[in-house]
Homo-oligomer: 374 residues x 4
C-alpha cells in the first residue's frame, strides 16, 4: 500500500518522520505501508532542497499551499512550529488529504475542534504525533492499569523537565511568542504528560495551575543587546481532577538545570504503583502489593518481547529502544489506520481534548484557581 | 553537663531518643552533655516498666503529671501521639523544664504559638524533633543553596510517601482521628518536607491544596466487622508560595504502594539542581550548570567527612548513616542549646511556623483555593 | 556515492544493517553514501524472498556464491552465524568486493588473520560490526581516557550477561555447537567487551580464564525428549593483562537470570573512574578526583550534542539512542571508509586481534593457567 | 546478664563497639546482655583516657597485658590493627576470657588456627567482627539462597572498592606494612567479601589471583620528602572455586577513584539473581525467573520488618539502617552466644577459615596460578 507523502517542515522532526516511514515499511513490509516521498516544503528553500535530496523526495517547494493541493499527495505530514498546524491541516483536510500532524494539534481548542470535526466529515486518517502514547513502556503500563493489577488508580504525578533553554543567552524564538507557540513548556513538554494521562484516564474535568516566566527577556540575536519579551511559561504546574476520579499533579520546566529529557511519572493505585522516566526509555518500574511480603519491591522491568510494539525491532529483550523507534511505532499506527480506516489512539478528536486541557491550564494559571476544562 | 531526663511515651520513638542521648554523650563526651535517665512515663504501665528497666531509668510512672512536676527532671522529652504534646509541653514549661518534643509541635498553630511564647518567657531550651532538618544530606544541600552554587532557587518539589497504612484491614488508630492527630499524612509525613523547606526558604505565604481519604473506614479491631470512620487525609498535595519567591509543590501519602519511606525532593535554581531521597539516606544528587558542558551530569555525592555532622560517626566517607544517627545529631543540637542557651534550628517558634503551614493546607483543602498562611 | 549491497543472511541482523544503510543515507545525504539494495541471500528461500520484498532488494537467492560473484555488487554484507563468515568473506574478497562482516570476524585467529591479509592485499574496505566501539558513550569514555582526565588507567572490569538461554527447554542451536559458533558466550557476548577494551588499550598480552557449561544438554526440538550436547561456555571469566599495563577482568554469561542485555564495565584510572551499562545506553557515569572534595560524586552524564556521533540523530541532549542508531553510526563509518579509503576503527586486522584474545581465553580455560595471546 | 568489658584499642572502631554494647542492651534489655565498661587500653594514653571518660569506663591503661589479666574483665574486645590481634587474643584466651576480635582474626592462618583451637579448649565465647555476615540484607539473601528461590547457585562476583588511599600524599601507615597488616586491600576490604561468601557457600577450595601495588611509595609524614615502601596490595583480584561448586570472582581496591564504600556483589543461581551494594545498605535487588514473564524485573527490596534483624531497630519498613546498627546486631550475636554457650556464625574457627583463603590468595598472587586453600 503506497502512501504519497507531502512533508511540511524540513527540520529535525520532518526528517525523523521520513525515516520512520521508511523504517516502518522495511519492518512490516510494503503491504503494511510504503511511503512515496512526493514533495517536501520548507520556508527555507535551502532546507527544503537538502531534505528533498537527502531523503529522496521527488520535488520541493517553499509554499505549503503547493503541497496541500498536490494531486499526487495522499497524506500531508505537518512538522512545523505549533501555530502553523491549523492552517495547513485545515487546507489539507479540505483537499481530502490524510493528515499526520505533530503535537500539539493547534494552539487553541477552538481550532482543534474545528479540525477534528472537519477530519471526521472528510473521512480521512487524522493523527497527532504524541509519540509517548504508544511507547511500549506506556503500553505496558496501560495494560497494568487495565488488567487491575495496580488496583483502582488514585494518583498520577508527572514532570517533564528540560534545561535546553536554561541559558539566558539563548535567543528568543518562536517558542517564546504565543502567536507562534500558544504556550511555553506547557504545550511543548506538558502536552506529552497530558496526552498519556488522557489516553489512560479519559478527560480532565478541572485544573488548578500556576506558571512562571523565569527568564523574562531574551536577546533577539545570539550576541544582540536588543531583547525581546518571553511571553509564556518557562515552568508550569497544575493539579488536575480527571473524570474518572484520578488526581493528577503535573508540571514541566524548560529551565530545569540538569534535566535533559526528564519526562517522568508515577501512577499509584490501591494495589500497586508504576513509575517511568523517558531518560531511561526502555525500563518500567512496577510494584505489586500482592507479592509475598518479604520479597516485595519495585521491579525494574526492561522492555522486551513480551511488551507490545517491541518485537518489531528486536528479537530479544533488553535491547535499548530509542526515540527514532518510537516514531516508527507511531507511523505504523498511521499505516494501520490507512488500512483499517480507523485511528485507535491519537486522532484529531483526541488532540482537541488534550488542547482543551492545555487551554484550561492557561486560564487557571491566569486566575490562580480551579477552572473547568471546557 | 548532666541532663536529667523525664521521658513521656515509652514507644519506639521514646527509646530512639534515649539511645540518641546515650550515643551523643559517648561520641562528644560528657562535658558536651550526659543524660541521666530519671523517669519514664507511659499510659501502659507494662511499657513504662519495660523501658525503665531496659534503658536504665531510675523510676517509671503512668502519669505524665508526675514527670513534668518532678524536681529531679531537667528536661521533659515528649514522644507521644501528636495531640498530647500541647498539655504536656505546657505543663513542663510552666514548671520551668527544658522541653524536647517530637514533631509536629501540636495539632494547631494556636497551641503552638502559645507554647512558643511561653517557652521564650521561661527562657528554657525548647526543641521540636524535625530530624530531617539537620540530616547531613540536608545540611549539605543548605550549604549549596546558601553558597549560591545552585543560583537563585526557583522551585522546590517534594513527596513523602509510605504504604504503611495501605491495607484496608489495618485497624483504626489515633492517627486516623483528628482530635488525636490533627491531620493525617500531612502532619505525620508532610511536616518533614515543610520543616526542611521552611528552614531553607523561610515562611510559606500561601497554599493551594487538595486532599483525599482513600480508605474511608477501618475496622475497630484487627478482625472486627465494626468499623470506624477515618477522619483525615490519606493523601494530600499542595502548591505553596514561599515568602522568598520559591514555588513549592509538596505532597504525601500513607497509602502509596511500594513506597516505604519515600521522602524525596528536588530543588531547582537558576544554576543548578539538587535532589534527595531518604530511602538512600547517605547520598545527595547535585548538578552544576557551571561544569564543563560535555561532562555535565548529576553527581551522586556520598555523605562523608566533608559534610557537617558526618564525622562524629565515621572517620571515612561513604559509610551509611541510619535513622538512629539522625536522632543523635538532633540530640547533639539539644546538648549544644543547653550549653549555649540558644536553639539555632528547630525551636518551638519554628515548630509553630510549620504548624501554621499545616493549618493553611488543611483550610485550603477544605475550600479548594489559595489561602494565606496566618 | 552509491554502494550496491549484497546481503548474506536475512535474519534480524541483516534487516538491521539494511535499515542502517538507508537511515545513514537520509541523515548524511546520498553524497556521504547511498545504498542500492542489489541482492539478498538466505538459505531459507522464504526468508530471502521476504527480505527482498520488504527492504526493497532487486533480487534474492539461496546461494551465497551468487552474491559474492555478482558483478553488480560492490559490498558484501555478512550477517550469518559466525562459522560462515570465513568462507563468504574470503570469496567476497577474492572477487574484489568490499566486506562488512558481523562480529566476531571468524571462529579462529588463523582464519581471521588470513582474511585481514587478503583484505589488505585487495585494498578494499573491510569492517567488522563491533557496534559498541563507536557507541557515542564509548567514544566519550575514550575521550576521557585519551585526555588524561581519568589519570593513568589501571583497571578495566566488564561483564556482559544475558538470560536469553536460561531456560533448559530452549532447544539446541548453532550457538551451542562449536563448528558453527567457535565458542559460547565468549564470542557472542564477551567479544563486545574485548573489542572495546582493545580499541582503548591496544592488544591483550596474556589471559587466565575459567569457563563453564551450566546447561549441558538441550532438546533437539522444542518438545523433543532427544537431547544434544552443548559444546561451549554458558559462562566464562578471564583475567587479562594488556600490553599497556591495564589489568582487565572480564566475563559473560548467557544464563544469568534477570540480565537481559547487561553489558557493563568500569575503568579506573589514578584520577578518575568511568562506568557504563548498555541497558541504559544513553548514560555514562564518570568521577573526577579533581572535583572539589565536598562536591565529588559520580556524574551521570546523559549523551548529548557535546558527544561525538550523537548530533546526527537529535538536536537536543538527553534523547534516548537505541540499538538501531548504533548500527547507523557503524554504517556511517563504512561510508566514510569508502570515501577515504581507510577504516579507522574495526577493520579485519582489528577483528583478527580480538579473535586472538578469544582464542587465548579458550586455551586458557582448557588448561586453567595464564597463556599468552598469540 | 552483666558482661564486664576490657576494650583494647580506643580508636573509632573501639568506640563503635562500645556504643553497640550499650545500644544492644537498651534494645533487648539487660537480661539479654548488659555491658559493664570496666577498662579501656590504648598505646596512646590520651586516647585511652578520653575514651574512658566519654564512654564511661572505670579505668584506663596503656598496657594491654593489664586488661587480659584483669580479674574484673569477662570479655576482651580487640579493636586494634590486625597484627596485634594474635598476641592479645591468645593472652586473653589463656586467661579464660571471652574474646571479641575485629576482622580479620590474625594475619596468618597458622595464628588463627591456634587461636581457634585454644578458644575451643577454653570453652569461651569467641567472635570475629565480620559485621556484614549478619547484616539484615545478607541474612535476607541467605534466606533466598537456602530456600532455593534462586535455584542452584552458580556464580558469586564481588567487589569492595574504596578511594580512601587514592592520594599519593597520604602518608605511609600500619596498613601498608605487612608485619602490621598482613596484607593490603585484601585483608582490610576483601575479607568482608570472603566472610560473606564462606558463610553462604562453605570453604573455598582453590584460588587464582593477581595483585598490584599502584602507589609504590608514600611519604613517611604528611609533608615529608622521605618515603617508605608500600609492601602490599592496593588492588587484588581472585577467581575462587568453592567446595560447593560456586565460581567466585572477587576483588578490591583501596585506590578506586569515587568508590567510597563500594562493597557490592551479585549471586547468580539457575532460577534467580540477587545483588547488593553496601553504599545503599538498606536495599537488596532480587530477580525471580519464576515471575510472570512480562512482569519480570529486578525487585528493589527495602529492608523491613519482614527481614531478620531489622525489627529491633525500627517498627516500620524502609527506615535506613546504618553501620552503627550493624555493629549492634553483631553485639547482640555475642550476647546470645554468652547465654547459649555457642556462636552460630563468626567464631574463631570461621575466622581461621577466612584467613586460609586470604593466605591462599597471597600465595597465588605471588606465583600467578591456581593454588589450593590449605
Amino acid at each position: 500500500m503506497k502512501v504519497r507523502i507531502g512533508l511540511i517542515g524540513a527540520g529535525w522532526m520532518g526528517k525523523a518522520h521520513s525515516n520512520a516511514f521508511r523504517h516502518a515499511s522495511m519492518l512490516f513490509g510494503p503491504e503494511a505501508g510504503e511511503p512515496v516521498f512526493e514533495i517536501v516544503q520548507d520556508i527555507d528553500a535551502e532546507a527544503a532542497k537538502a531534505a528533498c535530496h537527502n531523503i529522496g523526495f521527488s520535488r520541493w517547494t517553499e509554499n505549503w499551499e503547493d503541497v496541500v493541493r498536490d494531486e499526487n499527495v495522499d497524506m500531508v505530514d505537518i512538522a512545523t512550529p505549533n501555530a502553523f498546524h491549523y492552517d495547513v491541516a485545515r487546507a489539507a483536510l479540505e483537499n481530502g488529504k490524510h493528515v499526520y500532524c505533530e503535537k500539539p494539534l493547534t494552539i487553541s481548542p477552538k481550532q482543534s475542534k474545528e479540525l477534528a470535526i472537519l477530519a471526521k466529515e472528510k473521512g480521512v486518517v487524522n493523527y497527532v504525533g504524541f509519540n509517548n502514547v504508544m511507547n511500549p513502556a506506556n503500553n505496558y503500563i496501560k495494560e497494568l492499569i487495565d488488567s487491575g493489577k495496580l488496583g483502582e488508580i488514585k494518583r498520577f504525578s508527572g514532570t517533564y523537565d528540560q534545561d535546553a533553554l536554561l541559558d539566558e543567552t539563548i535567543k528568543i524564538s518562536w517558542r517564546h511568542i504565543n502567536k507562534f507557540s500558544g504556550s511555553g513548556s506547557l504545550g511543548d513538554l506538558g502536552s506529552h504528560l497530558l496526552s498519556v494521562a488522557q489516553y489512560w484516564f479519559g478527560d480532565a474535568k478541572k485544573v488548578n495551575a500556576v506558571s512562571e516566566t523565569i527568564i523574562k527577556e531574551r536577546p533577539k540575536a545570539p550576541d544582540s543587546l536588543e531583547k525581546g519579551k518571553v511571553e509564556n511559561d518557562d515552568f508550569f504546574f497544575s493539579m488536575i481532577k480527571y473524570e474518572n476520579g484520578v488526581i493528577g499533579t503535573i508540571g514541566s520546566s524548560r529551565v530545569a538545570p540538569g534535566r535533559k529529557n526528564h519526562l517522568t511519572y508515577e501512577i499509584q493505585g490501591t494495589q500497586g504503583t508504576a513509575y517511568y522516566s523517558l531518560e531511561n526509555l526502555s525500563e518500567v518500574h512496577v510494584y505489586f502489593h500482592s507479592d509475598e511480603s518479604a520479597d516485595r519491591g519495585f521491579r525494574k522491568v526492561l522492555l522486551g518481547t513480551d511488551h507490545q510494539g517491541y518485537s518489531a525491532f528486536y528479537p530479544q529483550s533488553g535491547i535499548a529502544i530509542g526515540f527514532n523507534d518510537l516514531k516508527v511505532i507511531e507511523v505504523h499506527e498511521i499505516f494501520t489506520a490507512l488500512k483499517e480506516g480507523k485511528v485507535y489512539t491519537c486522532d484529531f478528536e483526541f488532540g482537541w481534548k488534550v488542547d482543551r486541557t492545555i487551554d484550561a491550564i492557561l486560564r487557571s494559571a491566569a486566575v490562580e484557581q480551579w477552572v473547568p476544562v471546557e
